[in-house]
Subunit: 422 residues, 2 copies
């Protein structure tokens, strides 16, 4: 499966029989507990802003990090700690990104040490993450005060508290978990994520923490995360801004007691379907909950000559501010789709392109062979008035598909971001 177009694999062969969505988020997998608390990192905040995830044994672990060259201190420290592919706890705060601070590394390491001390584990096995305002001083005080409290609160039911703690401008929790079987062993995989603005490919550009009890080597864990990230989080865009701080981590406790996955085999394939089910849904919810968004926009590109062309085209469309504003008003301005296709970094023959708008209210073709076709504006308006809008682009030049997710651009995006710091 390694060299196939991953999207094609998942579109054509959905294969989710045997996967059941369950409750439990980041605590669904055996061995994991979580907690959240209001550490008052952001003055006047009424919500949780610090979370702890803990496993009672050392896990295999993998992570992906932002591609931004300006990296938050937690990114630097977590990379260092995960060099050996092992981790046992995650300490994460919202309200302050701990980025572009002169003492950022010191604070991030300090948070890990305080966590390690409270849990009696090695500081090298602690993952640290932060999200919030860049360039604002952060002290160790809220960690000193709240990590012991978090430790006391750790519970298999703590997933909601933890999920709330990582939210910034998110309007709702994002967590999913699935149960499935490897051989006769029941396995679980679940996760939570945040991210609402500063969402653009080149990795998640959000925080996501995923846990599983599947027994799998660090190497295969990393491979799975990379493969599935490429067609989920990397295909989400809210505003084209790639954050400095974001990461997705995947921890496996091994408690499911399956035959350890150490190579690309049938069990690996079953595992990545589970990972896809969780990550794809987290990614979609991130787009749907984009800052100020009123609609989820899914762009499906079909029949591109290469996977790169398909992906670049889909992302270009969900990224276009002009298209996003048109969708917010349910205006079938398909010319803006053509325009965004045209400036994608991709090769295609304009005269073969067709475009359809779809939603649960129906489907309408608006462009064929690169030129407009007659369609009912009323019907198109109805279709685009739904909360989930799909733009289907057929490039008619190969057999590679891609799917990207984005959201509309509304007044509220401007409102939310105009005075975010205050």
């Amino acid at each position: 499966m390694k060299n196939k177009n991953m999207t094609e694999q998942f579109i054509n062969d959905v294969g989710f029989e045997g996967y059941t969505f369950i409750e439990g988020g980041v605590c669904a997998a055996k061995g994991f507990k979580a907690a959240g608390v209001n550490a008052h990192i952001k003055a006047n905040s009424q919500k949780n802003d610090m979370a702890l995830i803990y496993c009672d044994k050392i896990c295999n672990a993998a992570a992906l990090y932002t591609q931004n060259k300006v990296k938050g201190a937690p990114i630097v420290v977590t990379k260092r700690h995960l060099a050996d592919g092992r981790a046992q706890a995650v300490i994460v705060n919202s309200g302050n990104a701990n980025t572009c601070n002169s003492n950022g590394i010191e604070i991030a390491e300090g948070a890990c040490e305080l966590t390690a001390k409270a849990l009696d584990i090695s500081s090298e096995n602690v993952i640290v993450a932060s999200t919030g305002v860049i360039g604002q001083k952060l002290s160790l005080e809220p960690f000193e005060k709240n990590i012991p409290i978090l430790k006391e609160k750790l519970s298999e039911n703590g997933y909601n508290d933890a999920c709330t703690a990582i939210m910034t401008t998110d309007t709702r929790q994002k967590q999913f978990a699935v149960e499935f079987k490897l051989g006769d062993k029941v396995c679980r995989l679940g996760g939570m994520s945040k991210g609402s603005g500063m969402i653009n490919p080149n990795m998640a550009t959000m925080l996501a923490f995923i846990t599983t009890d599947v027994k799998i080597s660090s190497e295969m864990l990393h491979s799975a995360l990379k493969q599935i990230n490429a067609i989920t989080y990397n295909m989400v865009s809210v505003d084209g801004d790639t954050s400095t701080n974001d990461m997705v981590t995947l921890l496996s406790s091994g408690y499911a007691d399956n035959n350890e996955i150490t190579e690309f085999n049938e069990d690996y394939n079953i595992f990545i379907y589970a990972l896809h089910a969780v990550m794809m849904n987290l990614a979609k919810e991130t787009a749907r909950d984009g800052e100020g968004a009123s609609k989820l926009i899914t762009c499906v590109v079909k029949n591109a000559d290469t996977e790169e062309t398909a992906k670049a085209t889909a992302l270009s469309v969900v990224n276009s501010p002009l298209l996003k504003t048109a969708v917010s008003a349910a205006d079938a301005n398909w010319g803006r789709v053509m325009c965004a296709i045209g400036y994608a970094d991709a090769d295609f023959d304009v005269s073969r392109v067709s475009v359809d708008f779809a939603s649960k209210a129906g489907e309408v073709r608006v462009c064929e062979n690169g030129v407009g076709v007659d369609f009912s504006e009323d019907e198109a308006y109805k279709i685009l008035s739904e909360e989930e809008v799909i733009i289907i682009i057929d490039l008619h030049s190969g057999d590679n598909p891609a799917v990207a997710w984005g959201c509309d651009l509304t007044y509220d995006y401007v409102k939310i971001n105009a005075e975010y710091r205050s």
Copy 2:
């Protein structure tokens, strides 16, 4: 001068003595007349939407076109007509882009033929341009009816009417002209442009028509246009959307009777300074008049290791929706500048970066050596409350500068674009 960093040239050696800004826009240069009329291309529009520019002799001509792979029919036709580097008239309409229409080429060619017939010139010497909604049928009727009227109205005072005719969501006219000398000959160069949304580098992504009476070969005209475009229109971004239709054309009548410029010599250098004066101001005004904009943002990048790095960094900053919204609220959220620098396609050492905010209200350093420094929020607020805000980034890693222009992102951008077609 060909291989130098052009921005450096123009920053360090401004050299505008001897250039006087004058009235007259596209009619300032000897030999050119213009006219504008309301052809009712867009129903209910109260403004001019069709313009004609005419020179009483065949001009040398050069043009640059959108990089969008979906190209408006007028782009295709104009490219064909300008293959010989000669032109005599420009027919342009707003309200309809004549793009993605099945009969687009036919209409664009038809408009040229009608213009040629009215003026008794060759259709091959007519430039055609359109801007407006994509994928909306356009007929020859408004051209048939209005080109004879435009011909009758042609005048050296017609520049305002023409300038109004090319506006779409523009809130004001954009035209500049300069007078200067080559030897003892008085020369003039002037132009007009439109463009307010769908403005992103990779050429102008706007319509711009520039005329001069300087005697200069088509080849040198093209070279000058390309050089100056690279540091003016290509450094403007309103929303990251690269349009399908935009072009900048440059026509020279030769009436100034200077020694013809046929090589890179001192006269050529004097000429490109004049071209820079006009194009830079048109570009800046386009940014200032970006859809919904309340502020002009100028990003100056200094001391980059290469010109490419300097340009990529400056554009990344003026393109960031998060920074643009912060500036709209005069919020000194400099972390978003660092974030945008970080995801620019450019190499630099984060630990050397400094950032200043400046305007006529003062200048304040907010970041040094890649980390935040203490500054007065009140002072920063005052500085960012001005209508022209400058963000100065010093990369401290070479000696290449670049300047990019953009605007803030406000509620009104969303408002203007949500229902543009209606």
